[in-house]
Symmetry: C2
Subunit: 368 residues, 2 copies
DNA sequence: CTGTTAGCGCGTTCAA
DNA sequence: TTGAACGCGCTAACAG
């Protein structure tokens, strides 16, 4: 910039004004500056120097769980991102995906990143990245959990939603099962009965397990008999093989609540192969009310992740909107054997709402 | 940092060394510094100041087409992003999504963003954002096109791929049609015959139209009779209604090549409603070989967008890998009426490869 | 309308 | 092993 000033025969401030306060510069000077800039290939004020000077970056940092590689394979995370992007585009804020790779250097990355605030897609309770975010002293909004002092939370009440869907899915079942997200960071595939939800370090997964357990108990069934299958990733194929194993058990499973539509679709697939009729001999439910769930008449928990992303972004920007702008609902379709009380046309599925939040949608404190 | 130094009773440089060159500081001083930092709530060197000093940001800028809002709804763009993310996570680079909202301020945003290089998801030939990127003087890699001096290009040969798929889709057809991405930035829904591909400002769309036209002509059909439908977005529902219109034409369409699997699935849907049998009375093909395409026995052009994203990131980082690491192929399934020469099991579909690139995969010059 | 001064927070250079 | 000086490029505040 000083070079431009020299070449234009003006002071540095005139150059600065040319880019920032056009009205404070005479047309004549402006011309000279622009000319000199063009000749020197000067592209305007350096963003890094500006950030330093202004003390802000006009950028939001987004931390996508424990490992970036899986994040984009997860349609839920992507929808959430779309919501953030919407707000960022509107406000002219950059959206910086923080390079989290599951290693020790992740914390370093968090503190090395030039952003004004963080938005965190749900991770484990004890993820060291969360400490790094706290330590950075910058505002943070977390989606799903864990709840942390100083972090704002955007989440539906997963426990209540799982309970509501569990009541639909497990009604009349004798041998219910659950298809879960990973139970810990090792992401090992697991198939076991009587799992203690409180040992699970992923808050969203834990809350959903607790909700399903609530339903199991409300229906007079024994949680210790309930088989929980956990897949390494949110993958339909993996769900299919896990479901096949479930069908081959001595007392075959007759109801499966899955934590995502992808997993549930894998179950439907396995059911077809095993010649089980849905919902007569197998009741199935998913989560997130995807297009595919509508297409396959799969009952599913609906929530608006895009709106949640947008809300998280507004909170991160300190815009502090009102609370509870969104909610969850249970969409009942044929897969859980309810009488179809509504037309469920392909691509135009009316949604039946039921259940209500026990907790406010946005919290900045509380227990998980 | 100077405050920390004062409190620790050392010089500023000792503090700096504590964070950057641990070996140049005695354990004793280090202790004092860390102590002081903790007391003051100092979170380590400021990223913005660091970028200024180092002259780089360790961040890649990603420009997702003309408007950020649509980008995350596009599974192809998301897959490409996943590839970029993979490389960024590995190298510890941030990935900054530039807030493009379709307005005049977009160019400003590009120059205001603190990144070392840009990766651009395909846009129109005349998008002013491209000028802003050029003007910024930072390296840029563009996916799909347009080709520009100074920009590296990562792309398959869309024209060749469209030709190959056109030959399959239109073989034996009397009344072929094309379901296209938008023809211009207005994104108006269009249904017309004899469209001149060269008027289309989206390079990828243009190349594919050219390739389909090549096939039409190679098959002895008249391009002026070929109906092209263009949807406003990559949306299955929109494709369905456009297909329905096509089926209602005086001379009903008997072959449709679609530029995405989503669009093709909309066609299949409409065909079912119209009681058309595929492929006997209607031949259909899609693009990108999605899971859904395999599920619905839809012929599709396969390409590895994730690998292309990773390649684009490596090129942007100046790692200059070898050329042509990937390729496209035509996956023939039942929807184009070829005799099924392979088992096409659900979720485990073998891919028949055919066709070859006419151009190298990576180019940094050439015509579009 | 334009110029001068000062400092954002850091790290390289050179000296001690 | 540590310190002092300097400048990375920019802009707020205050002259003029």
């Amino acid at each position: 910039m000083s070079q431009v000033a020299a070449r234009a025969g003006v002071s540095v401030m005139t150059v600065s004004y040319t880019y920032n306060r056009v009205d404070r510069v005479s047309a004549e000077s402006r011309e000279k500056v622009l000319q000199a800039a063009a000749e020197l290939g000067y592209a305007g004020p350096d963003p890094a120097a500006r950030s330093l000077r202004y003390g802000n970056t006009r950028t939001l940092g987004v931390i996508l769980g424990e490992h970036l590689t899986y994040a984009f394979d997860n349609p839920q995370a992507v929808t959430f991102l779309a919501g953030i992007a919407e707000v960022c585009a509107d406000r002219g804020y950059g959206m910086l995906i923080v390079p989290i790779a599951g290693g020790a250097e992740d914390s370093l990355r968090v503190s090395e990143v030039a952003v004004d605030a963080f938005i965190i897609w749900t991770t484990t309770d004890d993820d060291p990245v969360l400490d790094a975010v706290s330590g950075s002293g910058r505002p943070a909004v977390i989606h799903g959990g864990p709840v942390r002092a100083g972090f704002k939370l955007v989440s539906i009440d997963n426990r209540a939603a799982a309970f509501a869907m569990g009541m639909k899915t497990f009604a009349g079942a004798h041998r219910p099962a659950i298809l879960s997200f990973p139970l810990d960071s090792s992401r090992k595939t697991v198939l076991a009965a009587g799992i203690d939800p409180d040992t699970v370090r992923f808050p969203v997964t834990r809350q959903r397990l607790l909700g399903y357990r609530d339903a199991i108990e409300a229906l007079g069934l024994d949680w210790n008999d309930v088989v929980v299958g956990a897949t390494a990733t949110n993958n339909e194929g993996e769900a299919r093989s896990l479901a096949e194993t479930m069908f081959a058990l001595e007392q075959p499973i007759d109801a499966i609540a899955a934590m995502s539509d992808d997993l549930a679709l894998g179950v439907l697939d396995a059911a077809t192969s095993a010649q089980l009729t849905v919902p007569e001999t197998l009741s199935v439910s998913g989560w997130d009310n995807s297009r595919a769930s509508a297409l396959h008449q799969l009952s599913s928990v609906a929530q608006n992740l895009r709106a949640q992303g947008a809300l998280a972004a507004r909170l991160a920007l300190g815009e502090e909107p009102g609370l509870a702008p969104d909610d969850w609902s249970v969409v009942v379709r044929a897969s859980t054997g309810e009488p179809a009380t509504q037309r469920t046309e392909h691509g135009n599925t009316p949604i039946r709402r039921m259940g209500a939040n026990r907790e406010p949608f946005v919290r900045s404190d509380g227990l998980s």
